[in-house]
Subunit: 167 residues, 2 copies
Amino acid sequence: MSQDISFRIRQAEEADIPQILYLVKELSEYERLRHTVTASEELYRKNGFGPERFFSALLAENTGSEGPQNFGFALYFFSFSTFTGKPSLYLEDLFVLPEYRGSGIGKRLLVELARIAHRKDCGRMEWSVLDWNEPAIRFYKSLGAKPMDEWTVFRLTEPEIKELAGE
Amino acid sequence: MSQDISFRIRQAEEADIPQILYLVKELSEYERLRHTVTASEELYRKNGFGPERFFSALLAENTGSEGPQNFGFALYFFSFSTFTGKPSLYLEDLFVLPEYRGSGIGKRLLVELARIAHRKDCGRMEWSVLDWNEPAIRFYKSLGAKPMDEWTVFRLTEPEIKELAGE
């Protein structure tokens, strides 16, 4: 699968929003969750590049002469652990276009994220993985990542939030 | 279990850090994870009330004449969902002192969090629950929360982050 490709990892800017959203939609296809994507470029602009910024992203940009503009991306933000007292780097999405896997792009994105986490004195890096995604799980375990098997995330969506809030 | 108590929900301030850390340690006892708490008041000051703020907290403050200063707390921050394009409210910890449960304190904390999430136009509220904590799971399901059973969180801690970063 390895190919003769060249790329660089860089921070995403506002002008990259269409590319980020394109990659998010490709990821959602892979996760069989495309029907749940309701995001728009406008929401990404407001929530990633407005006065209050809820995320940052890295792009694996194609620096060769052929192929897609970007091979993959990582979108992250800083959470907080009450037990460490420090921020954690939370990796919301990591994705490499399927036809470009096996070239070390995912690993390079994770290394850059680890550097960012280290500079920020983060106590942890965390991310969620679908239980059937065995290639991803093998890859993450090879980096020393531990599955938090005894925890389950619970979620409320907008209608339930409104009801609970009494709005 | 219901008692004649009075309380108010309010935002935590810097002066509340010793109380927050006390409640975090009580929570960690309940979760059988006391040995994993390495946080200090200094780290809470830096990461919650410094130039870059990674969390906010609500306190359920005792407004009666007897008992503890606070009955419980909720510590939260804003994450981001690439699929909704909106921030989510992530509830890192919700805790009520065991002897004061059954008085609606946890529910009042969650209602206030839902109001904060609604005002911020959050697409989701999320939190993690230990799989053996059946009273909590029943309570959360009664509010309409759905368990994300098909996902597992993976974690790197500081030594692995440093190694991955090549530091």
